[in-house]
């Protein structure tokens, strides 16, 4: 088994129009999916800073368009890249036009 990282991007704009009922249902799908793939990780605040050389703040976030904003990340185990991609397919973020970036974590 190898370790993989999912980076979640976007979806936020579409969330705005959801009803509380829809939000709860969506949240429950996230919970089930995360449990199913045994992922652990964190959500991220929307605001942040991009820091350059010597601590110069280059940008005060949000940095880019909504669809690029990273909403969170999780780590999980998978056999290989294909398997990791396969496991991401049921991610509820796709319901609202977000994306999942799948990266292999290099063992050190």
């Amino acid at each position: 088994m190898k370790q993989y990282l999912y980076v979640f991007r976007g979806g936020r704009a579409a969330y705005q129009d959801q009803s509380p009922e829809e939000m709860q249902a969506h949240m429950e799908r996230w919970g089930s999916w995360m449990q199913k793939i045994s992922a652990i990780g964190h959500p991220l605040q929307e605001e942040g800073k991009v820091v350059g050389k010597a601590g110069d703040v280059i940008t005060d976030g949000p940095f880019t368009e909504g669809k690029e904003v990273v909403g969170g990340y999780v780590a999980l185990s998978a056999n290989d890249m294909d398997h990791a991609v396969e496991m991401s397919k049921e991610c509820p973020i796709f319901e609202y036009g977000g994306t999942v970036e799948v990266r292999e974590i290099i063992e050190m």
Binding site: S19, M23, G31, M34, H42, G72
Partner: protein, 423 residues
């Protein structure tokens, strides 16, 4: 700086919230914040709560649900609102009264319930039209989206959106505050709130058209709001208890009211073992409280009638005489043609079809029911009992031409089929 702790999914995960938790929290939080920051900030409160729920949705699945989710929502939404108000303050350079930081941490459930009651009185304020009252109640207290309201009221989404904007504008213009009505007005104002709750329930119970006969969500919402009222002393009146009782009795029959294909089953043919004993019992308890005093009101009578139906072993052995007597009382309070029409059913059982038919004829002459399908359905039934097959089928056909509800259409068509087969 230490390293970030990694959460392990706990037992209490995002899927273990009770049903409709977000929706009910929405109503609580918006009511609380609007009460706290003033009704002129209703819109800000709505946005703050919406954003907070989005945040919960995005973060809770990664870890666990906070120990006190309601408190979490109130706190995050409250802070958000303070930020917003500060921002506006800076823009307008306006001095605003104290914005204390340490808010909402331990607001009691009783306080929140009171906030909701105030909000109910505000949403059902007499200067607002009934339409506005319904939409405001559903949106703010019910936590339904415009789309959900339009689906449940069978109106266009655009229409509801426009009405909601206008309703909120009127709410602002009239400077409706989240106050409780003065003691001498409570009864009258509560009457309006109950009326809206009743309308919501009815809307859910029997839609004017469309495919689904019972939209249980609306019914549940109406009952939830009534329960909020009953948690306060001020609103625990015989009328409020009676309405709750009535809704319990009606909803006790939900499971028996339609078959597997979703077709209507009439009271006569319902499988009574499918009625909910628990709801009947609750209905009975509320009815008891409603009749603790001698106050007679419309809801008490309706609840009492319903109670006779719910406690009858079968259709034939229903206490029709008692039901008829209750209708008579109801007619005295409220001499409405609709009550007269409903009264015909027990009247036929007690006094026979001939007498019932002469009452039908009298009612028909008033012209009040020219476009009311139920009148012709009842007329058809009585004629059938009198053996007037042809006349009966004419009445049923008329009823069919007047209803838009697909389920009711199917039901009436079935009756018509049975009638022609018996010919």
């Amino acid at each position: 700086m230490g390293h970030c702790p990694i959460f392990i999914l706990s037992e209490m995960n995002a899927n273990q919230l009770i049903d409709h938790f977000f929706r009910t929290e929405y109503g609580k939080a918006v009511s609380h914040l609007t009460n706290r920051f003033g009704s002129e900030n209703l819109e800000l409160a709505e946005d703050a709560v919406q954003d907070t729920l989005i945040k919960a949705m995005q973060t809770w699945p990664f870890g666990q649900v906070p120990d006190n989710p309601t408190g979490w929502i109130l706190k995050v939404a409250g802070n958000r609102m303070i930020d917003q108000l500060r921002r506006l303050q800076k823009q307008t350079n306006e001095e605003m009264p104290e914005l204390s930081e340490n808010l909402v941490e331990d607001v009691s459930l009783t306080d929140i319930n009171d906030d909701m009651v105030r909000m109910m009185f505000a949403c059902c304020h007499p200067t607002l039209s009934a339409e506005y009252q319904i939409i405001l109640t559903l949106k703010i207290l019910g936590g339904l989206s415009i789309r959900e309201i339009s689906t449940s009221l069978l109106k266009k989404e655009e229409t509801i959106a426009k009405s909601y904007t206008r309703a909120k504008k009127k709410f602002k213009e009239d400077e409706i505050k989240l106050t409780l009505p003065p003691a001498n007005e409570v009864e009258k104002r509560l009457e309006m709130v109950l009326k809206i709750i009743y309308l919501l329930f009815n809307e859910g119970y029997k839609s004017a058209e469309g495919k689904v006969l019972i939209r249980e969500d609306l019914c549940a919402e109406a009952m939830r709001l009534n329960a909020v009222l009953l948690k306060t002393e001020l609103c625990s009146t015989p009328s409020a208890y009676a309405l709750m009782s009535l809704m319990c009795f009606h909803s006790s029959r939900f499971a028996a009211r339609v078959d597997e294909q979703g077709e209507i089953i009439s009271l006569e043919d319902q499988d009574r073992s499918k009625w909910s004993d628990e709801l009947i019992l609750r209905g009975q308890r509320y009815l008891q409280k409603a009749t603790d005093t001698d106050a007679v009101n419309d809801y008490v009578i309706q609840a009492a009638i319903s109670s006779y139906h719910c406690n009858a072993v079968n259709f034939e052995e229903t206490r029709w005489d008692e039901i008829l007597r209750l209708y008579d009382v109801q007619l005295q309070i409220n001499p409405s043609p609709v009550i007269r029409l409903n009264r015909i059913v027990p009247m036929e059982k007690v006094h026979g079809s001939m007498l019932a038919y002469s009452e039908i004829e009298e009612l028909e002459e008033t012209g009040f029911f020219d476009a009311y399908y139920l009148f012709y359905a009842i007329k058809g039934g009585i004629l059938q009992n009198l053996g007037e097959v042809q006349e009966s089928s004419i009445a049923l056909k008329k009823a069919i031409s007047l209803t838009k509800n697909e389920r009711e259409l199917n039901y009436l068509n079935k009756k018509l089929d049975m009638l022609s087969n018996s010919d």
